[in-house]
Symmetry: C2
Subunit: 244 residues, 2 copies
C-alpha cells in the first residue's frame, strides 16, 4: 500500500486494530485490499503499526498488529505556528496541508487586529490534516486549536525559541535568529494575516520573549511565510527516523 491508514488510539486494543468506517471503505473499494495483506496504520499520537488484514466486510476492517514503532516520520523539534485567519479559506487550507507535510506539531488560527474573518471550518481543516498525515507518512496528527489572539498564544507559550514574522528595521533575518536559538526542542512562530500584525501585537509578542524576524527582501503571502519558516526551522533538524 502506498498510503498509511488512520485509526485513533481507541480503535487499537492489544494486537487488534479496527479501522474506522471511512478508512475501511477506502481500503476495500478503492484499493481493493484482500485478507492477508499488510497495511500501515498510524494513531495520530505517535503510534505506528504494521497490521495484517484478518477480516474485510463492507464497512469494517479488522487486523492484527505485527510490528509497532513510535514517532515514525516525526521531526526532532516541535513547532507551533500561529497564523492569522485568512480571507480566502482555500489559502488557509493550503497552509494546513503543507504545514503537516513539513512537520508542524500545532496550528493555531489567530484572530488579530487585521483579520477580516473570525472563524475556520474546523471539520474541513481536520480532514485536510488527516489526509496529509497519512499521505506524508507521519505518525502524529498535529493539533488544530480554536482561534485565539496572538497575545494569548505568546503569553501562554514556554517554547525556548519564539519568532514573530514582521518586516521592520529591527527584524533579524530568520536564518540568523534560528541559528542563534539552536539547539531548541520547541519553537513558536507567529505569522499575521494578509495585512500583517499591528505594532501592539508585535510588541506583546516581543514582551513575551519573541524575536522579530524577516524572511528576506520579498514580501511573502502569509501562508507562504508560514511554510517558509517551517522549512527553515525543521529542515535542518530532519528526523533520522525513516518511515516504512
Amino acid at each position: 500500500m502506498t498510503t498509511n491508514f488512520y485509526a485513533p488510539p481507541s480503535a487499537l486494543r492489544g494486537r487488534r486494530v479496527v479501522l474506522p468506517e471511512a478508512e475501511a471503505r477506502h481500503l476495500r473499494t478503492v484499493l481493493r485490499a484482500q485478507e492477508g495483506e499488510e497495511v500501515v496504520v498510524v494513531d495520530g499520537e505517535g503510534g505506528w503499526y504494521r497490521a495484517r488484514i484478518d477480516h474485510l466486510t463492507p464497512d469494517q476492517v479488522v487486523g492484527t498488529i505485527t510490528e509497532q514503532r513510535e514517532d515514525v516520520g516525526e521531526p526532532a523539534i516541535e513547532v507551533t505556528v500561529g497564523l492569522g485567519i485568512l480571507k480566502k479559506r482555500s489559502r488557509f487550507e493550503t497552509f494546513v496541508e503543507k504545514a503537516v507535510e513539513l512537520g508542524v506539531r500545532r496550528i493555531v488560527p489567530l484572530r488579530t487586529r487585521r483579520t477580516e474573518r473570525n472563524s475556520i471550518r474546523k471539520d474541513r481543516l481536520h480532514s485536510v490534516m488527516v489526509g496529509a498525515m497519512k499521505q506524508c507518512r507521519r505518525s502524529w496528527l498535529p493539533t488544530l486549536t480554536a482561534p485565539q489572539s496572538p497575545e494569548s498564544l505568546a503569553s501562554a507559550s514556554d517554547a525556548a525559541a519564539e519568532f514573530v514574522c514582521h518586516s521592520g528595521d529591527d527584524a533579524v533575518p530568520l536564518h540568523r535568529a534560528a541559528g542563534r536559538a539552536r539547539p531548541f526542542d520547541e519553537a513558536l512562530v507567529l505569522v499575521g494575516p494578509e495585512g500583517g500584525f499591528a505594532d501592539s501585537e508585535v510588541e506583546a509578542a516581543v514582551a513575551a520573549g519573541g524575536t522579530v524576524v524577516s524572511l528576506g527582501s520579498r514580501r511573502l503571502r502569509a501562508e507562504t511565510a508560514g511554510l517558509a519558516v517551517l522549512q527553515t526551522l525543521i529542515g535542518p533538524a530532519a528526523s533520522e527516523r525513516v518511515p516504512n
Copy 2:
C-alpha cells in the same frame, strides 16, 4: 500603493512609462489613483522604477520615472526548478505562485515517465506569475519554459549545483548537499511528478552532474518538495536589496 505594477521593457522609453491596459484599469478603477500620485513599476527583467502619474484615461496611464533601480527584491542566486507536470492543475499553480514568492528564477514543467498529463495552461500560469511578482515586489518575472524531459534539462544545464529529489539509500539530506555545494550562483533542482522519477531518469540526472537529495523522513507532495527546496537554497542567501 501597496502593490507594484508591471510594464514590459517595451512600455518604457526614456523617462516615460505607459502602463498596459489591464494595469491601467486596475490602477484607475480599483485603486482610484489620481494624477500626481507615485507608483512602483517593474519591468520583469530586473528594472524597478518609481513613477509619477501624469495622465489617467479610461484605458491608459502615462507616468514619468523619478527613480530607477535594478534587481530589487531578487535573491543572490538563480535557481531553476524542473517540476513534473501534476495531475491537478491547481497544485501546479500553487507551486508556481509560491515559487515566484520564494525567489525562483526559472520554472520548467517536466514530462517524465510517470507524468499523467502532458500540457500546462501557459497563459494561466503566466498570469499567476505576474500577480505573484507584483505582490511580492520582485523585479524579475521568472521564466516559464515549454515542457521538456528531465534528461534534456539536466544535460543542458551548466549550474554549479544540481539536485535531484528522490528517496533512496544513496540520497544525501538536502541541507548537507546544499551546504557542501555553497557558494554557488546558480542551481538546478529536479522534482518528479506524484509518482516520483523513474530510476533511469535519476541516473541520467546524476550522470549530468546532479546529486540525489532527500528532504527528510516525511514523503512530501511534489509541489511541497519543490517549495521546500527553494526555501532551503534561497533562504540563507536572501538578498540584501530591500524593496520599496
